[in-house]
Every structure is written in C-alpha cells, then in structure tokens.
C-alpha cells in the first residue's frame, strides 16, 4: 500500500483528517453554505418560491436541496466531516499532552534554560544562605508557589502555575462534541402544534415536518384564552392560555401559560405560539323587526344556522360572519384582519311568499344596507367571539445535553484564552568565587504578557542578588 512518499494510504488519510487546514476549510465552508441558507428562504411555500424564482432556478434549487438546506444530505455530510475532523484532532493531540505532563518534573539544564524565550543571566559576588528565602519569596510573588531543588553543583528555585490549562483544548472540543451529540438526541423528539378552542381538549398534536399525528399519552384542555393590549399603543401585551393536563380523564395539573412561560409535562413543552378566533363559532345576537311592526325580537345564532321567524313561515339563513369587513375593487368581501374591527354578518331571507333576498348587517353601522321595501330589518346587536389558542408542542430529549455541552465549551474557551501554563526557573551555580545565576521562563500562550511580567521579576532578582547582607 505504500506510495511514493513512503506513507501508506491510511497514514495519508489520517494526516488529512487531523490537519487544522481541514478544520479551517470546514469552518469557512460551513459559513459559506450558511450564507446561502439565509439568502434563499428555507421551507417556504411553493407559491412563494414561484413568485421569487424562475421555474428553472426553482427546480435547480429544489433538486440541490437548497430549499431545505439544513436537512440536505450534503449539509449533514459537511457536519459529519466536521465532527470526524474534531474527534481526529483531539485524539491526535493526546500523546503530545502526555509527553508534556511527563516532562514537567525534570529539571532543565543550563543550555535549555538559555534557549528559552525569556532568559536573563546575572553574576552575583556573594550568595549567602539568607538570600534563599528572598529568591523563593520573589518566585512566590510571581506564580504563587516556589520550591527549591539541589542538583550536583547548583541550586534550582522553580515555580509553575496553570498546568491544567492544557486541558482547555480538550474541554472546548469535548463541549462541541457534546453539543453535536445533543442535537442528534434531539432528532428522537418531535416538534408539533395543536389548536384548542376554549373548552376543547385533545390528546394529539400534529408534527410540523411530516404532518403526522403524534399521540401525547395524555390530554390537554384549554380552559380559557385571553389577550390583553397596551393602553397607549394598539399592541398586544400578553397572550395567556389556561391549560389543564388530564390523565385518563382526571385533572392532574393546571397552568396559565404565556409567551416565555410554557407548560412542561412529561418532557413535553407546550408554548403559547398563536391564537385566533373562528368566525364560524362566534355567538351572534340579532334583532329582527318585521316591516311596519314596532316589536323587535332577539335571536341567538351562530353562522350557518337557519331559523323561522316566529308566527310566520319565513326562513332566515345566517350566512358568513366577517370580523373586519372590507371589500376589494371587484366587490368581493374579505376580512381585513382577525380582529373584530368591523363585524358584519350576511342574512339570507326566504319569505314564504315573494322573492328571497340577501343583505349584510353591521354591528357598528346599523343603518347601512337596510333597503326600504324589505320585509324584515335586522340589527347586529352583539357577538361573542370564541378564541382558540395555538400551541407549539415540543419534545426534545437532547436539550440538556446541549446545555451541558455549551457549558463545557465555554469553560474550555475561558481557560484557553485567559489561563496559561507559566513556568520559571532560577538556577544558581558557584564558579570561581562568583555565583552565576540564570533566570528563565516559558509559557504556552500569551507570551507578550508573560515577558512583561518576566522582566519585572528579573529586576527583582537582580536587586536581591546585589543586596549586601
């Protein structure tokens, strides 16, 4: 299997997998495709796509998976490659860290001290034993600890701090892997929604992606829905639903949920996500007055209902109910919003004798459309909307794994940026009646800060050496 360079194909593949070059390519590649994902609308309706793109562009984007990019096979592949690269890099680093750890206890000789990035040499005329404590104190002041070791002809004072900062790398990468594991666990859950009218209950939700029915294993009942508005602005202040959990018909738990405060039961989250009202369910109160009569009678109805006017054979059919009545240029009736800003209802009258006729009646404009000559005059006295609450239903068994991963990653990043392994040695050796001292130090990151602190220490050591005792 050996090729020209003498490496096996596996060694070459491994070499590519562990390279940071690949990491950087993948990071930039992921960013690039994510940009596409923000420019091309994701999971929009076919109608919407046809509005933006030409048919050929649309079919290209669809076939290449750009319309549901984050679930496309190649995006998964990219994420997979990223994960493999991350694991390979992490494993590859272990031997190096072990070597560093095992080397930690050996004392460097003079030559290796002098080759360190930070190194100062001094010559002291005298070195009485009382100075020992001063040296140790200086090192302690620098790194918080210090020890003295004696080798054959010389004395070493040494100190170190932050050796655990080597684990920063592992923690950061482990954190990312835990997050990825959490997102995979999340695929075992589901995201769905349900709509409940006040008073209604249901034990199923509809899964967003597949439109399949998901059985919850218990029932949720909506007791009440309420929307409040700010006094000064016409903006909703709060949506609140009172939900009750029922197990086998028994009430278990009742909670008022609102946006930012969901109901949590058996690992499932119920979020307030939307609301609305059904025009068809609204309870309407109408006033009916026969022509020439002073007497008006009240009738409680819902849309689609049919009633006979008392004492006659005349039939009235309640037609469409429109909460916010408006007409387009062609005379088609539509509702401007879901809010009851201009409620209107259509009445179809079929008298026992004479022509049937249709008329719109308005709650806010009682006099409109009431043509003279019609047999009955209607008044739209009152209506009571029936709200439904829109609930987002989520089950994600991976959420806590993701949070733990995030915490581990942040801890690792903090250590990586703000902690470093600082080591310092002071080697003093007697030579021809003089003492030669070498002060040297190494650091695994942030060398500029270290060298600033190092020069302060070396001034301190110089002063101690010069002091006469």
């Amino acid at each position: 299997m050996a090729n020209k360079s003498g490496k096996t194909i596996f060694a070459r593949i491994w070499g590519f997998l562990i390279s940071v070059r690949l990491t950087i390519i993948l990071l930039i590649g992921l960013s690039a495709v994510c940009i596409i994902g923000t420019v091309v609308p994701q999971n929009a309706s076919t109608h919407e796509y046809q509005r933006i793109y030409s048919p050929s562009t649309y079919s290209f984007l669809k076939n290449a998976g750009f319309l549901d990019m984050y679930n496309a096979w190649w995006f998964t592949l990219l994420m997979g490659a990223f994960t493999v690269n991350l694991i390979a890099c992490t494993l590859n680093r272990i031997p190096r860290t072990r070597k560093r750890m095992s080397r930690a206890n050996t004392l460097p000789d003079r030559a290796s001290l002098e080759s360190m990035a930070c190194c100062t040499k001094f010559t002291f005329k005298q070195n009485p034993p009382e100075k020992k404590q001063h040296f140790i104190d200086a090192l302690k002041g620098f790194l918080g600890n210090a020890k003295e070791q004696t080798a054959e002809t010389c004395t070493y004072y040494s100190a170190e701090k932050g050796s655990f900062s080597y684990f920063a790398f592992y923690l950061t990468h482990l954190g990312v892997l835990i997050i990825i594991a959490g997102t995979l666990l999340g695929t075992l859950g589901f995201q769905g929604y349900m709509q409940l009218y006040e008073g209604e209950q249901s034990g199923t939700a509809i899964v967003r992606k597949t439109r399949e029915t998901q059985i919850l294993g218990f029932d949720i009942r909506c007791d009440k829905f309420e929307v409040t508005f700010y006094d000064r602005a016409r903006m909703p202040k709060d949506y609140k639903s009172t939900l009750t959990v029922l197990e086998d018909g028994e009430e278990v738990l009742t909670k008022i949920i609102e946006v930012n405060d969901p109901l949590i039961y058996k690992g499932m989250y119920f979020y307030q996500s939307s609301y609305g009202m059904s025009p068809n369910k609204a309870k309407l109160t109408l006033g009916v007055t026969a022509q020439g009569s002073e007497k008006s009678m009240h009738q409680h109805v819902t849309t689609g209902e049919r009633f006979t006017i008392e004492g006659t054979q005349d039939v009235v059919q309640v037609g469409r109910f429109i909460p916010d009545f408006s007409m387009d240029g062609k005379g088609h009736v539509f509702s401007r919003s879901d809010q009851p800003n201009n409620p209107a209802v259509q009445m179809q009258v079929t008298p026992a004798e004479g022509k049937p006729y249709t008329t719109w009646i308005f709650a806010k404009f009682p006099d409109v459309h009431q043509k003279p000559g019609q047999k009955y005059t209607f008044a739209f006295l009152q209506f009571q909307p029936v709200y439904y609450t829109g609930l987002q239903v989520t089950k994600d068994p991976g959420v806590w794994t993701v949070w733990i991963g995030c915490f581990v990653m942040l801890l690792g990043m903090y250590m990586a940026f703000f902690m470093s392994h600082r080591r310092i040695w002071l080697r003093i050796e007697e030579k021809d009646g003089y003492w030669e001292a070498v002060l040297a130090g190494t650091v695994n990151r942030n060398p500029i800060d270290f060298s600033k602190d190092f020069s302060k220490l070396s001034e301190q050591i110089r002063t101690i050496g010069k002091e006469k005792c």
């Binding site: 940071v20 990071l27 930039i28 995201q191 000064r232 202040k237 307030q272 959420v399 500029i448």
Partner: protein, 281 residues
C-alpha cells in the same frame, strides 16, 4: 423627555471626541490626550445617565423594560458598550490612538440613531416574545462581543496602515512612544477577538436558551441566528489559524476586518435585507 436631552449631549460629546482624537494624531500632546480621555469619561457618564433615565421613563409610561428593545435603543446601548470596551483597552495598553478609529463608529451610530427618519426613538412597549429577563443577558453579551470586535477592527486598520508605511520606508519606524508598535497592535487584535469570541459565544448560547423557552426550539436557523453563527465560525477559523499555523500580523488584521464586516451584517444588514424571527431587533 429628559433622557433624549442627555443622549443628545452624549452624541455631541462623542462627535467632539472624534474630531479631537483626529487632532490628537497631529498634536501628539500628552496633556491634550489626558483632557480628551476626561471628555470621553464625561460622555460616558452622560450616556449612562441618559440610558438609565430612559429605562426609568419606560416605567413611568407603564411599559417598564430595559432600553434594548428596538433599533434606536440597540444603537445607543451598543455605543455604550463600545465606549466602555474602548476605555478598557486605552487604559490597559496606555494608547489613545485607536480612538480616532473607534469614535467615528460610535458617533455615527449615535447620530444615526437620533437623526435618521428610519429609526424610531420613541419608547415602545415590548411585544410578548421580548418580555423576558433573557433579553438583557442575550443582548448585552452580544453587544459586548460586537464592541470587542469593533476595537479589534480599529486596531487592524492601524496595523495595516502602519505596516504599509514601514514597508515603503523599508525601515522600522523608531519607537517615538507615540504610535503603538506592530506587536502591541497585533496583541490588541488577538485579545479583543478572543474576548469578543467568548462573549459572542455566550450571547449565542443565552439566545438559544431563551429561544428554547420562548419559541420552543433552541435553534431555528433564523437568518440573524445563522449570521451570528457565521460570524462566530469566521472568528473560530481565525483563532485556529493563529494558534496552530501562526497567522499573525497582516493576515490576522485582514481576517479581523472580514470578521467585523460579518458583525456589521449580523447587526444591521440582516434586519434590512433578510426577514426572520428577529425582525423586531
């Protein structure tokens, strides 16, 4: 409103700071520099009072929320965090020259917030989705991150200008104690990015926690969310290139500028050009 008077004075002070920082580059006078720093502190104090008053006024009206809820408040708060981060760097590295690059951004942001007809400076009520304590944690950490990136961007521009100057002269400029050395600038670029990277990371995570609580999913690939991730990934690439492949100096400065363009797009571009769940921010 009293708060808008204070914030108006702030804008004026920062514009003054900007021009004085430019003049400082020519005068190179230490006393002048010290007075300038005092002026920045004055601006920051007025700024802080202005923001505090606005917060208080929102309670008076009956809305009661931290001033982080619309573009006006975002720009004013982002300027506030940037001034703070800038002052930290000024003290830590004892250099004032970066001010001439950071203050134009701050002044433009403040002036745009108060003067542009596109930006509504009224105190508006919070829509239900924003009524959460996570608003503070999420937006503040993101903004602190953006500020750190802004400072690294300023340092990168100085770095490139200075290294070009040195390249044409073919000699290293004598350290006259005025302009920071290339090594110092490089250190500022890296450290600001490291801090910004960590803060933006926390910002994205607090956002995810909040989203999980409000929208029922910690990640929805919403354009703003995705762009913050893109920015984060670009800086992640930068940090990896630096640590393992020794990318410093010019290359680092260029990537830091690209990264800051992503930050600007995440903060402003997404809202103007793309639509999504963050449409209110």
């Amino acid at each position: 409103m009293l708060s808008s008077t204070f914030l108006g004075i702030t804008t004026f002070t920062y514009l003054l700071c900007m021009t004085l920082y430019f003049s400082y580059l020519f005068f190179r006078n230490k006393t002048f520099g010290k007075i300038l720093t005092i002026l920045v502190f004055f601006g920051l104090a007025v700024h802080t009072i202005g923001l505090g008053l606005r917060w208080y006024e929102s309670y008076e009206i009956g809305y009661g929320h931290i001033p982080l809820s619309n573009l006006y408040e975002a720009l004013v708060s982002l300027s506030w965090t940037t001034v703070i981060f800038y002052l930290v760097i000024e003290f830590r590295y004892k250099i004032r020259q970066l001010g001439s690059l950071v203050f134009p951004f701050i002044s433009i942001a403040m002036a745009y917030a108060s003067l542009s007809p596109n930006v509504n400076s009224e105190i508006q009520p919070l829509i239900p989705a924003l009524q959460s304590n996570w608003l503070t944690y999420h937006v503040l950490t993101c903004f602190l991150g953006y500020s750190a990136f802004a400072v690294s961007f300023g340092a990168s521009i100085v770095y490139l200008a200075k290294s070009k100057k040195e390249a044409t002269k073919k000699v290293q400029e004598p350290a006259d104690g005025f302009m920071p050395s290339l090594d110092t600038l490089d250190d500022i670029i890296y450290k600001s990015i490291a801090i910004g990277f960590l803060l933006l990371g926390i910002g994205i995570i607090t956002g995810a926690i909040w989203a999980n609580y409000a929208w029922g999913s910690y990640w929805s690939w919403d354009p703003k969310e995705t762009w913050s991730l893109i920015t984060w990934l670009i800086y992640a690439a930068f940090i990896h290139a630096r640590i393992t492949r020794g990318w410093r100096g010019k290359r680092a400065a260029v990537i830091s500028i690209i990264g800051f363009c992503c930050v600007l797009f995440t903060f402003l571009g997404v809202n103007y050009l793309l639509s999504g769940l963050h449409s209110y921010a």
